[in-house]
Amino acid sequence: MNTLANIALRNLTRQKKRTVLLGSAIAFGVMIVTLINGFAGAFSANVSENFADLMAGHVFISGTEKGADDEELSVIRDDSALTAAVEASGAPVRYVTRRSSFSGTLIFEGKKLRTNIDGADLSKETFLRDRLLLKEGSWDSMSDENALILSEKIASRLNVGVGDLILVQLETVTGQANVGEFRLAGVSYDAGIFGQMISYANLGYVNRLIGLAPDEYQTMGVMLDGLRHTEAAADAIYGRLYGGVQLFERGAKDEDGAVTPFQALMRQQKKESWQGVKYRLFTINEVLSQIEQIVAALDTTAGVILVVLFVIIMVGITNTFSMVMFERIGEIGTMRALGVRRGGVRSMFLYEALFLALGGAVAGIALALVAMGVISLFDFGMDSPAFIIMKNGHLSFFLPPLRAVGNVLIIAALTLVAVASPAGKAAKLTPAEALRTQK
């Protein structure tokens, strides 16, 4: 090992308290930032996965029919081609869901509320029972044809209880006004801000309300073995569908500034006209493409915190090393006399600071990893308001390795900047000055 680097390393052990203090400051800063990075790293996957559960799929196929006067009718009439394509795609499919949905007004004793209601075949979508915990009522009462499950917030706003009859006003797929009646079968815990968006009813009843046949529906959801299979599976299924059925282009970009590929697709659909049912295939990623912006914002925040914390720590480093330089002025003089060059003195200080920074940073990352491990042990439950950002009710983290390395490099660079001035002063001393100033 380089002699001066070796001495620099040993010099760190001379004032242990000081080294530990500065090192801890660095470690603390790195820990905070690493935690945010780790959170952001898992955020996107968690939110998407939870949404996939709520929306019942990773890859979706919906059908649209153009009516006589160009109005659009959302329906899948015969899904044999779709089912065949999904099967033939070889994608790791866990199950396929079939849903219809509408947005309507619920009315109970003079109180009105607009909400989205999903019709699902609950005899098949058993996973919903695990995902959506009921506070009141039971899933078993869903065997009633017109049963309805509302989230806690909606139920309390309507002031309804299990067993109450609720009136619903809506439009059918062809735009006709219609009314129906639901019986409240259960009240679910609010699964975060997103959970309350959807209320659940039986597919058959919803179809009847919106004017579809019992075996028709609107959206097929393909639930895969995990988020990571999404794009490959979507490509494979699309490939199988292509040529067999009428298809919208996938994720077509739009010149007039659509924010998401999803929006782009919707606009494209408006312009065209066709006969029969035309299908579009989209993925959870397209629906949630704004999540990436949230992740980017989180990482930016982490970056800003990193820099702010480090500007503060840098002041400490600069001051400490100015002090260190005066304490060791005799040694600097001695070394210079014995033949160490100016650059050698400088690099000795830089090495020392660098070792300190690296030690602190590595300790910080290690602490953060331990903290992540401990935090992810806590079970917040599926009914936690923050459910959507969690993984099975646990906070989870994923630290992208490159980001961790990047943080270490930033800290190393900032530390070198902080110590550059005292190191420069030490290097600039003539040996005579340094020897004379020693105590």
Binding site: T3, I7, R10, N11, T13, R14, G330, E331, G333, T334, M335, R336, A337, L338, G339, V340, R341, R342, G344, T430, P431, A432, L435, R436, Q438
Partner: protein, 244 residues
């Protein structure tokens, strides 16, 4: 010409608004292999002169010749290399590197500069020096575990490790009791004879100059006496008068 030669050397220190003339025009010449004492009371300019001979400081005026070569035009890197190659240093307060043990302190100068010494050869030489200064039992100890006299012995070994032509020692015994100081001087004298290394040491103690081959006495930045042992006339090197 001698191994060290000073020619009309002046050193002026700026001290706030005033200037301190620490050395006021000094010339002398030192023969290779001599044991030289620079003596004088406090403030007479001993350290200043040794610093200039040691190339850790440069004269305001005049020239310092080392082995016949002028040094005033050299830049910092060249001075550093020349120091490393030709000079050894012993300091009043020992100035060992606290984080290195005895062996490593002595080895340190060998790890600087370009010349690489063979591993076995190096080890043998350092062990020899450690034995020479009587610290064989202490090689793994850190400086703060040693007495003053022991530390100065380490410093002597360190000064010799690069086999320099000249060893400079600024009041090497000032921080030691008189008995230990005498031992240190005797050790230096012994090495001076054995290795034929030129030793220049400063002292403000008029009594311990007897051991020297050549005495240069200073007062107020001027040479008051410059004489080799047993010679009547002021010491001069061959060719010096011719050049003057």
């Amino acid at each position: 010409m001698g191994i060290v030669e000073l020619e009309n050397v002046r050193k002026i220190y700026p001290l706030g608004k005033v200037q301190v003339e620490a050395v006021k025009g000094v010339s002398f010449c030192i023969e290779k292999g001599d044991f030289i004492s620079i003596a004088g009371p406090s403030g007479s300019g001993k350290t200043t002169i040794l610093n200039m001979v040691g190339l850790v400081d440069q004269p305001t005026e005049g020239e310092v010749f080392l082995d016949g070569k002028p040094t005033s035009k050299l830049n910092d890197a060249e001075l550093t290399r020349l120091r490393h190659e030709t000079l050894g240093f012993i300091f009043q307060s020992f100035n060992l590197i606290p984080v290195l043990n005895v062996w490593e302190n002595i080895e340190f100068p060998l790890l600087l500069g370009k010349t690489r010494v063979g591993k076995d050869e190096k080890k043998e030489w350092i062990d020899h020096l450690i034995e020479e200064v009587g610290l064989s039992e202490w090689r793994k100890h850190k400086p703060n575990e040693l007495s003053g006299g022991q530390r100065q012995r380490v410093a002597i070994a360190r000064a010799l490790v690069t086999r320099p032509q000249i060893v400079l020692a600024d009041e090497p015994t000032a921080n030691l009791d008189s008995a230990t100081g005498e031992q240190i001087l005797e050790l230096m004298k012994k090495i001076n004879r054995e290795l034929e290394t030129t030793f220049i040491f400063s002292t403000h103690d008029a009594r311990i100059v007897d051991i020297a081959d050549h005495i240069i006495r200073l007062r107020d930045g001027l040479v008051t006496e410059n004489r080799r042992r047993g010679e009547e006339a002021p010491a001069a090197c061959q060719g010096e008068s011719a050049r003057a």
